[in-house]
């Protein structure tokens, strides 16, 4: 009875896994078919005439003038630069809030940062657009990076880590004559690698994957991000060119899938932390 129940559970788990993975497998399979086969309405997972033309033509950017390499570069750049900025400013702020008791306006700033976690994005979306538009920064990397720097999640996550950081180590460094910056950069940061990686992965995936803001904040063809780009192609000139569309979608999904596979442990930690407020 117990064995039967166990076998049944595993069968259900496998069926569910098949359902969850099928769209991704189908995406890759379709990306290796020519457009004719992709539209034939067959259910073959192995292409009859496998081809990587979709990838070659897509990456060349010759096809319908889609500068896909440029879009990938944009997405990776804003993801990496944005994550770097956020890790730096969030860790500095969290360090001050958690460990530097004589910081000015400490309590009120902390309450404001926490309260901001409840503010829905729709409240700031349009005025943020008008702000960047007024500064002439639409279609620049600044518009694609800066809005993410206001998020308080990272400050909150690191604050919780720093607050439990043993005081003795800091004290020892202070007695050795280290100033606040040296303690932060040479003592606290090197001990926070794991939590910084957690925040880094979470932040990078958030920026790289964001869709609605870059759709409006970067509208010129060479400033598009890959996520907004493929969405527009699916509605425009690539409608029903599923082979090519899926090749580009696979390329767009690849960086986050790789990071997710390597850093899943950290990503899960960030999500669980977000629930333990």
């Amino acid at each position: 009875m117990h064995k039967l129940r166990k076998a049944l559970l595993i069968i259900v788990a496998i069926l569910l896994a098949a359902v969850m993975l099928l769209p991704l497998v189908w995406m890759i399979s379709t990306s290796l078919k020519n457009d004719f086969e992709a539209l034939a309405g067959q259910m073959n997972f192995i292409p009859k005439k496998p081809t990587i033309d979709n990838y070659i033509q897509g990456l060349n950017g010759e096809l319908m003038n889609v500068p896909i390499m440029r879009w990938i570069t944009n997405s990776l750049s804003i993801g990496i630069i944005g994550t770097g900025i956020i890790l730096l400013i969030d860790s500095m702020a969290a360090y001050a809030l958690a460990r530097l008791q004589d910081m000015m306006f400490r309590k009120i700033l902390f309450s404001m940062f926490i309260a901001s976690l409840m503010i829905p994005g729709v409240l700031t979306f349009l005025p943020m657009y008008m702000e960047f538009n007024g500064l002439g920064l639409i279609n620049t990397y600044a518009a694609l990076i800066l809005p993410y720097t206001a998020g308080a999640f990272g400050v909150f996550l690191l604050y919780q880590f720093f607050i439990s950081f043993p005081k003795e180590i800091e004290e020892a460094a202070r007695i050795d004559g280290a100033n606040k910056w040296q303690i932060y950069s040479r003592v606290v940061l090197p001990s926070s690698v794991s939590i910084m990686v957690t925040l880094g992965i979470f932040t990078f995936m958030g920026i790289y994957n964001d869709f609605v803001w870059p759709l409006y904040a970067a509208t010129s063809p060479d400033m598009r991000t890959i996520t907004a780009g493929i969405a527009l192609m699916s509605q425009g000139s690539y409608t029903q060119a599923y082979g090519k569309l899926m090749a580009m979608t696979t390329i767009a999904a690849l960086p986050v899938l790789i990071i997710f596979m390597i850093g899943q442990r950290f990503f899960v930690k960030a999500i669980i932390q977000s629930a333990v407020k």
Binding site: Q101, M104, V122, L126, A150, T227, T249, L257
Partner: protein, 298 residues
């Protein structure tokens, strides 16, 4: 020992960069949004005359253009919330319990399988499903035809358009709720179950009387985040159904952004965005109060 002014300043400097970003890209936009909503803010025009509350009044004036735009969108969004949130919670919990019931060697592997779609961008997710749902060449209809069934107008018929939006949303986001629930289930003390077993409790009554009450706070957290996420739905109807058939799946966020960027009425659209944000904040406050209130009662 009283801290010196120099020390107070140097401590504050650490928080300065983030505080500036917070002010420039959160506080300022919130205030600016209110300002815009009080003006006739046509996107391309240079003049933005002050109009007081008339953008808000228009939204609540029966039969005005703004009124139907806002409330039809709101109704579509509410329908989506009502359909999706219970499924997101029940399926999330069910999958978490399935994963936890598996032999420990398999848990990590299956958790990863169910969690992968959550790593994708909204647009990647929508484009993949655009192909899955294609009426003529899509995977689902090809399968139905193989099985001798009829093609289904997944994206162009009712209620199929809603079904499609819910399938994609479940597929995309269920991993998040699953992770939260797995973590909560693992924190239910093992001896509760053991004590219940000694008393001869069935699996079902253990679930009802031990599991559910213990994970209650997490349940409310998942309810809040799922409700907010569903309230903000945009990419799925924007890319999959394009608001159709007719205006059925034109959700509130689509209407607000189209009003701002296509009709260029940023003032009126900002008023709509502010009311939408207030609704979301009220929902989370009410749900938060429910958790907090219960804790007080204990």
């Amino acid at each position: 020992m009283k801290p010196t002014l120099k020390s107070r300043i140097s401590s504050s400097l650490f928080a300065l960069p983030y505080t500036l970003c917070f002010a420039a890209f959160l506080l300022f936009p919130i205030c600016y949004g209110f300002y815009i909503s009080l003006h006739d803010f046509e996107l391309l025009s240079k003049e933005h005359p002050f109009v007081g509350l008339s953008n808000y009044i228009a939204i609540f004036t029966p039969n005005s253009y703004e009124n139907s735009l806002f409330f039809r969108g709101l109704w579509a969004t509410i329908q989506f919330v009502i359909f999706s949130v219970p499924l997101l919670i029940i399926a999330g919990l069910a999958i978490a319990m399935l994963v936890n019931a598996l032999p420990s060697k398999l848990r990590g592997l299956f958790r990863t399988f169910y969690f992968i779609p959550y790593a994708l961008s909204a647009s990647v997710m929508a484009v993949i499903w655009l192909m899955m749902f294609d009426t003529n060449a899509g995977f689902l209809n090809s399968m139905l035809q193989k099985l001798g069934g009829q093609s289904i107008p997944w994206l162009t018929g009712t209620p199929w358009a809603w079904v499609s939006l819910i399938i994609t949303t479940l597929w995309w986001t269920i991993g998040f709720n699953m992770i939260i629930f797995i973590n909560a289930l693992n924190q239910v003390p093992e001896d509760y179950y053991e004590a219940a077993s000694i008393d001869g409790a069935s699996s079902w009554s253990k679930f009802i009387y031990i599991t559910l009450p213990t994970i209650r706070p997490v349940m409310l957290f998942v309810m809040i985040t799922s409700t907010i996420a569903s309230f903000n739905i945009y990419a799925q109807p924007f890319l999959l159904t394009r608001g159709g058939p007719g205006d059925t799946t034109r959700v509130l966020l689509i209407n607000v952004l189209d009003h701002a960027f296509i009709r260029k009425e940023v003032g009126s659209a900002s008023a709509m965005a502010i009311i939408m944000a207030l609704i979301i904040i009220i929902i989370s406050l009410v749900q938060y109060r429910l958790t907090y209130g219960r804790k007080e009662g204990n």
